[in-house]
Amino acid sequence: MRDLVFVAFLVALFAAGLKRPFLFVLAYVYIDIVAPQRLTYMLLNTVPISLIAVSLAVGAWLLVDDKRDARFAPRQFLMVILMLYCWVTTTQADFPIEAAEKWSWVWKALAFAIFLPLTLRTRLRIESLGLFMVLSAATIIIVGGIKTVGSGGGYGGLNLMVTNNTGLYESSIISCVAIAIIPLILFLMRHGTIFPMDWRVKIFAYALCFACLLMPIGTEARTGLICVGVLGVLMLRHTKRRFLYLTMAGVLAVSAVPFLPSSFSERMDTIKNYKADSSASTRIEVWKWTWEYVKEHPFGGGFNAYLQNKIRYETVSVDEAGGVATQEETLILDKARAYHSAYFEMLGEQGFPGLFIWLAIQGIGLFRMEAVRRKYLHHADEGERWIGNLAEALQHGQIIYLVGALFVGIAFQPFIFMLLGMQIGLDTYAKRRSAEAAWRPMNEALPAPA
């Protein structure tokens, strides 16, 4: 039954694409995020729907779309360079088979992020991309939110429809991405034109934000909690009554504690008692190992180079019983531990050049969104101010991601690269609008013929 629903939905989307080819791009975005082929047992998982969607999207753009104002931004060049560089490191990788496996999806994420801005020529296209990204992620987030309210979740215990832990279905990734898209959800609620703001849109948007906030609780991913903190700080930026906001946030946080499952509080406690926690200690050891590794291999070891690490460390836990504190040290031996940080993932796999290109892509994004935000937030033409609001939402989402990425290996997360593609699209769109607006008065300034 579910198979038929997905098939009908995709057929409808593809049919819409025949009338308006940009819908093919939205269809690919949907397939890449939701991966309906993984939610079904037959029909869809035998057809390469992702390949079909991307071929239609690129083909339609090449054949029929208007390419007069398609521009290649510096960040797209950087992504091309990063893609070529990763291809080279893959051919030289320490683990060629495993590296090739990761390369098989990384290049697609990069290529789509390079292609995406070329299609984002109008406000409606940019908005509809944001809406499809949010609603696609919402398919997973709503499930997580309701199940968290119902059962309290648990680390690795929250069933998000599929159990294979890939893409956004992985608990640490979804809890970081869910928080990162909250600014985008609020933007769409306030400035959306597809679903203009009314009480229904408001209820849905706030309920979805609430579900997003529940993801770190449901998945018990500690990174998510840090992301919530970053979101709170960022929201201060345009809050008029800051004292009231801080008081409300404090009261809400304190009053939420009794409702949290005890396993959640225990797990969050490990953030401060990280020495006793093997998962946190492993990370630090892996990061040390990565640093030593790149000192000898400055160009990185190719994708999945972490498989060769062997680490040994001691965890220290203090047990207080009857007023006597006993310290217990446990020796732990481990191997092939993942990076647990996008920065170290880039460093270990792609070396210094890869890390620098990746940081440049991220850094330019933050900088450009700030420039666009400042220019448009109080623009003389009210009809253009949404550009500033969207730039702010995309910048805040990226900051949340960059902080979350300190603790999760999500350097090439396709969803985030779509967000970067959207940033580039918005930036080039704003530049074009600005040029068009500045050009017109020259004609008007000419005196009318007598």
Binding site: K19, T122, R123, T139, I146, F195, D381, A437
Partner: protein, 50 residues
């Protein structure tokens, strides 16, 4: 049950959004922006509303 509710809700909304997008011509081509307001010095000279 919860899974189906979520899938039904978000996919219904995406379908509705796709339909609304289809009906709008500004998906592929939109109006150029309003011209920027003239600088003040210009207004004074040509006897505008300054």
């Amino acid at each position: 049950m919860i899974d189906n509710f979520s899938i039904g809700l978000t996919h219904g909304l995406m379908l509705l959004a796709a339909l609304l997008i289809l009906l709008r011509p500004e998906l592929d081509k939109e109006e150029p922006p309003k011209p920027m307001p003239k600088p003040k010095a210009w207004r004074g000279r040509d006897g505008g509303d300054a």
